[in-house]
C-alpha cells in the first residue's frame, strides 16, 4: 500500500471508517494536550533559533572587517598622537577607511552604561580610531609594531579576537535551537507511536471484527491514522497559536537591547510557526501509519 494513496485517503476522509474505532475520550485528550505542549515548545525553539541566527549574523557581519586603535595618553598629547596614528593607518595597505571617534561618538558609546548627559572631561578616556578593513585585510601584527614605535600608548584592538568566540556561541545556540526542534519532532513521533500502539492493542477485537467482514489493512489502518493525525494537528495548532501570542507580548529587542528580548519573529518569519502544526501532523501521520501496519501484521 503506497504512501500517496494513504495521504489521499487521509485528505478525502471517510466518516464510516472514522466511526469503526470506538471513541476514547481520555487518550484523545492526552494526545491533544501532548501535541499542544509540543507545538508550544516548538514555536519557542523556532523563535530561539531565529534569534540566534540574527545574532550570529549581526556579530558576524556587523563587526566583521572593523578594528579599533586605542590611544592612552594625557589629554594635551592626544591630538598629536591621534594625527600620527591616522596618517599611519591611511598609508597602511588593506585599510579601507579610518575615522577618529569624537566626543559625541564616545558619549553615545558610554550612554547605555552611564546614562545621558555625562561630562566626558571628568573621565580619562582613551582616544579611539575606527578602522574599516579592505576585503584583502591588513597585516595586524605589522601595524601593531608600527603603532608601538610611532604612537606610544596605542593598541590595535582587532575585533576578530573577541568576535570569533561570540559568533561561535551564537552559531552553537542556533544549532541547539535546531536540535531542540528535531528532538521535539522525534518526541512527537514517539508519543504518537505509543498512543497509537496502545489504541491498536485496546482495539484488537475491533480489528478482528473488521477483518471478519472483509476489511483490508488499509481500511483498518486509516481509521487509526486519520484519528491520530487530526488530534495532533488540532493540538499542535492550539499550542502554536498560544505560543505565538506569548512571543508577541515579549518586550521587543529595541526596548531592552538584550538577546533574550530579541526572541521573536520579524516580518515574514511570523508565517513560519504555521508550518509547525502541519509538520507535527505529518510526523503523526507517518508514526501512526508505521504503528498501525506493524500492529496489523502482528495481529495477523
Amino acid at each position: 500500500m503506497s504512501l500517496p494513496e494513504d495521504i489521499l485517503m487521509l485528505v478525502r476522509g471517510d466518516t464510516r471508517s472514522d466511526q469503526v474505532v470506538p471513541p476514547s475520550e481520555f487518550t484523545a485528550r492526552l494526545t491533544v494536550f501532548a501535541a499542544a505542549a509540543m507545538g508550544f515548545l516548538a514555536v519557542f525553539a523556532l523563535a530561539l533559533t531565529l534569534a540566534a541566527d540574527r545574532l550570529a549574523d549581526s556579530w558576524g557581519d556587523g563587526l566583521a572587517r572593523t578594528s579599533t586603535v586605542r590611544i592612552s595618553a594625557p589629554a594635551a598629547q592626544m591630538p598629536a598622537l591621534q594625527a600620527t596614528a591616522l596618517s599611519i593607518l591611511e598609508t597602511t595597505a588593506g585599510v579601507e577607511a579610518v575615522r577618529a571617534l569624537n566626543a559625541e561618538d564616545q558619549q553615545a558609546l558610554l550612554e547605555p552604561w552611564f546614562g545621558a548627559g555625562l561630562d566626558l572631561t571628568t573621565l580619562p578616556l582613551p582616544g579611539l580610531i575606527e578602522i574599516t578593513e579592505a576585503t584583502s585585510g591588513f597585516d595586524a601584527q605589522g601595524l601593531q609594531l608600527r603603532l608601538e614605535a610611532e604612537v606610544p600608548g596605542a593598541v590595535l584592538d582587532d575585533h576578530n579576537q573577541w568576535r570569533a568566540p561570540l559568533v561561535a556561541s551564537a552559531q552553537r545556540l542556533r544549532s541547539v535551537g535546531w536540535f531542540s526542534a528535531l528532538l521535539l519532532g522525534l518526541t512527537a513521533a514517539a508519543m504518537v507511536t505509543l498512543a497509537a500502539n496502545a489504541s491498536l492493542a485496546a482495539n484488537a477485537q475491533v480489528i478482528r471484527v473488521l477483518r471478519l467482514v472483509g476489511a483490508t489493512d488499509r481500511y483498518i489502518a486509516q481509521a487509526f491514522i486519520r484519528r491520530f493525525t487530526l488530534r495532533v494537528l488540532l493540538g499542535a495548532f492550539g499550542g502554536a497559536a498560544v505560543a505565538m501570542v506569548f512571543v508577541r507580548v515579549l518586550p521587543p529587542a529595541a526596548d531592552m537591547a538584550g538577546f533574550l528580548s530579541g526572541i521573536g519573529f520579524e516580518g515574514a518569519e511570523w508565517l513560519l510557526p504555521a508550518i509547525i502544526p502541519l509538520l507535527m501532523a505529518a510526523v503523526a501521520f507517518l508514526a501512526t501509519r508505521y504503528a498501525a501496519h506493524r500492529a496489523l501484521r502482528e495481529i495477523a
Binding site: 464510516r16 469503526v20 470506538p22 471478519l212 467482514v213 472483509g214 489493512d217 488499509r218
Partner: protein, 225 residues
C-alpha cells in the same frame, strides 16, 4: 466453491485436524458436527482464511488461500459470510451500522443500501431494532443481526459457527429456516453445530450432508438426511 485438500492443523503441540479433505460445492448445504473441542470452529476458520493450515491446501473460488496476502484474503471474505457463535459486533455501533459494516469496509456507499437494509432487517425480524446497540439485544436477536451482516454483501457462501448455541428451540428453528432460505437462493451453507436435534429438524426442509469430526478426522456422518 471452497475446497480443503489433505489439510492438517496443529494446536498447542497436538494435531487437531489431520488429512482433512472436503469440498463445499455451489448451492450445497452442510452440517459439521462433533464434540466440543473437536475442531469445528478451526475447520470453519480454515475455510475463510482466518487460520493457515500446517499442511495441505485450502482453495476458495479457485484461489489457493496460502498464496494470498492479508488484503487478498480480506477481498475473498467479502464473498463468504460468517456468523459467529458470539456474533462479534462493534458494541459502540448500532445494529444497522453493524450490519452495514461489510459494505463500508468494501468502500461502498452505505446510504445507497438503505432499501436493502430495510428488507434485510425485516427478513431477519429486526425491523424494529435498527437503532439498538448490540448489548441491548437478546441472544436470538444478536444471532439474526449477525446473519443479516453475514449476507449484506450477498456472499456465495455462508458459514455459521454454532448459530443456535445461545438461543431457545423456537429461535433456533427460526434461524435454521433463514439459513435454509439462503440455501434456496443458491448460497452454499455450512453450519457447525453439536446440536443433533437441529440437524434432524433440517431434514424436512433441505438436503444436507452431515460431516463429523472425531479424532482429527472428518467423516461423512449421514448423506441426504
Amino acid at each position: 466453491m471452497i475446497e480443503l485438500e489433505n489439510v492438517a492443523y496443529s494446536y498447542g503441540g497436538g494435531a487437531l485436524l489431520s488429512d482433512v479433505s472436503v469440498s463445499l460445492g455451489a448451492g450445497s448445504f452442510h452440517f459439521l458436527t462433533g464434540p466440543s473441542g473437536a475442531g469445528k470452529t478451526t475447520l470453519l476458520k480454515l475455510c475463510y482464511g482466518a487460520l493457515t493450515p500446517a499442511s495441505g491446501r485450502v482453495t476458495a473460488f479457485g484461489e489457493d488461500m496460502s498464496s494470498l496476502e492479508r488484503d487478498g484474503i480480506a477481498l475473498l471474505r467479502r464473498r463468504i459470510g460468517v456468523v459467529h457463535q458470539d456474533c462479534q459486533f462493534l458494541d459502540h455501533l448500532n445494529v444497522s451500522e453493524n450490519i452495514l459494516l461489510p459494505l463500508a469496509a468494501a468502500g461502498r456507499q452505505t446510504s445507497d443500501a438503505a432499501e436493502d437494509l430495510q428488507e434485510l432487517m425485516a427478513w431477519v425480524g429486526l425491523g424494529h431494532r435498527e437503532g439498538a446497540l448490540p448489548p441491548e439485544l437478546s441472544g436470538g436477536e444478536r444471532q439474526r443481526a449477525a446473519l443479516a451482516r453475514a449476507v449484506i454483501m450477498s456472499p456465495d457462501v455462508v458459514l455459521a459457527d454454532e448459530p443456535t448455541g445461545n438461543v431457545d428451540w423456537e429461535m433456533s428453528q427460526r434461524l435454521l429456516h433463514l439459513l435454509v432460505e439462503l440455501n434456496r437462493m443458491g448460497k452454499t451453507v455450512l453450519i457447525a453445530t453439536h446440536d443433533l436435534s437441529l440437524i434432524r429438524a433440517a431434514k424436512a426442509q433441505v438436503q444436507a450432508r452431515v460431516l463429523r469430526i472425531a479424532n482429527g478426522q472428518l467423516q461423512l456422518a449421514g448423506a441426504d438426511l
